[in-house]
Amino acid sequence: MNEPIIDVRDLSFAFNGETVLKNVNLKIFQGEFMALIGPNGGGKTTLLKLILGLLKPDRGKIRVFGQAPRHAAHRIGYVPQNVHINKSFPISVLDVVLMGRLRTGRGWARHTRNDHRMAGEALGQLQIWNLRHRRIGDLSGGQLQKAFIARALVTEPEILFLDEPTASVDAKGQADFYGLLKKLNETITIVLASHDVMVLSSYVKSVACVNRDLLYHDAAEVTADMLDMAYACPVDIIAHGLPHRVLPDHEEG
């Protein structure tokens, strides 16, 4: 029962001769809501892509549901950072979401009625049903993010990876967004990557900090070690404790 659904062991990865990840170990269990934090360029996106099988590790082993990533990646819903998406591409929001229902080898077949029903439900759940015929390039950053989440949801994922999902969402939107994630987390394991410690809402159950190395903490707190590692210098952050305490109490009074 207590087998991790994602198991990363001694993982190292270099890009253009530069080490991005070094000896990373990580286990993710069913039902978890994990925040993956760390500075920009610290390797969060790389780690997600390695687990998805989009990149090949230089050393180490990755198992997703006990299988190699490329055999299990379709069970993970991926919401990428939207910076690289081609904004002038002629495609409607609905067609982007339907992409999540794509099965190859079907050739001529169009999307089934069931595919349309699922896409409709996801669009409704994210409150962008009214935007479904809009061209994707006409959406705001927050709306675009929702469209990508809808696309990931129609794949019926068992795990959801979100890469910097709140970067272009305002404060009000973020509160709604976390409410939605909490609800999804009842059935789906969630991994959320962000450079911003503010993602540590009360819904997050554990934290991993990535900056070449990875430190794991099984509560929604940032340890002093993590801050040292992430920001490479001792940081003095005052924990306001409201609405949620991000830092643990100081260890020595």
């Binding site: 379709h74 002629p90 495609i91 409607s92 982007v96 190859t104």
Partner: protein, 272 residues
Amino acid sequence: MWEIMHFEFMQNALMAGLLVGITCGIIGTLVVVNRLVFLSGGIAHAAYGGIGVALISGLPYIAGTLGVSLAAAFVMAVATLKAKHRADTIIGVIWAVGMASGIILIDLTPGYNVDLMSYLFGSILTVPRADLWQMLAICVSVLVIVIYYYYDFLAMSYDDEFARLRNVPVKWLYFLLLGMIALSVVMIIRVVGLILVIALLTIPPYIAEKYTRSLHMMMVVSIVLSCLFIAIGLGFSYLFNLTSGATIILVAALGFIISPIVEGLMPKRHPG
């Protein structure tokens, strides 16, 4: 000027124009959204090497150009997948080497050389009926392949990482697409010549992209525009006795220039 329609060469030219227009609209759309314009130019110019091969070996024109452009497309596909950051350099080299070897091979061919201008700038008015069948075959193949793989091409073009996660065979489709580009280029050279291939592949989709909300509508609009430009260009080239390929491209360029003006006159799209 309608009496011109009674001549067989004009009927053939219009048929060729129609087939090229359909192929251009489909492949040009995929070229533009996948940002393969430079690569397509490389394939077109490398095809000149194929003309050299055909002349010196006595092979038919279509065999030489098709063989060389498919080979160039294959090398470019491998290069862009393996060495992403140097792909443009590799394409540039193949582009130049293809042209240079074409010229040298033609130099080495004994006897009087055929009119090379027709390969550089096209010769739609001299397309024989037999070539129309080849063009029809290429056009139908492209149509069937793209319709069959439409959703896979859509996913690959829009977001190739996501497509890979959905088990879309992205690599195979990429090779397939480059192969179809090579086929189309060989066919378009017939009409506007290798120097002007890029313009006919890219101008109609560029205009169409702004007015459409889906990839297949972009293809349809591109097909209509391509056929329109080719027909109008042919008419002008007949009326004023001008080189057909260059006239077609200038008509397309005119469309390119006036499309933003037309867009400015149209009602604004619903704001985001």
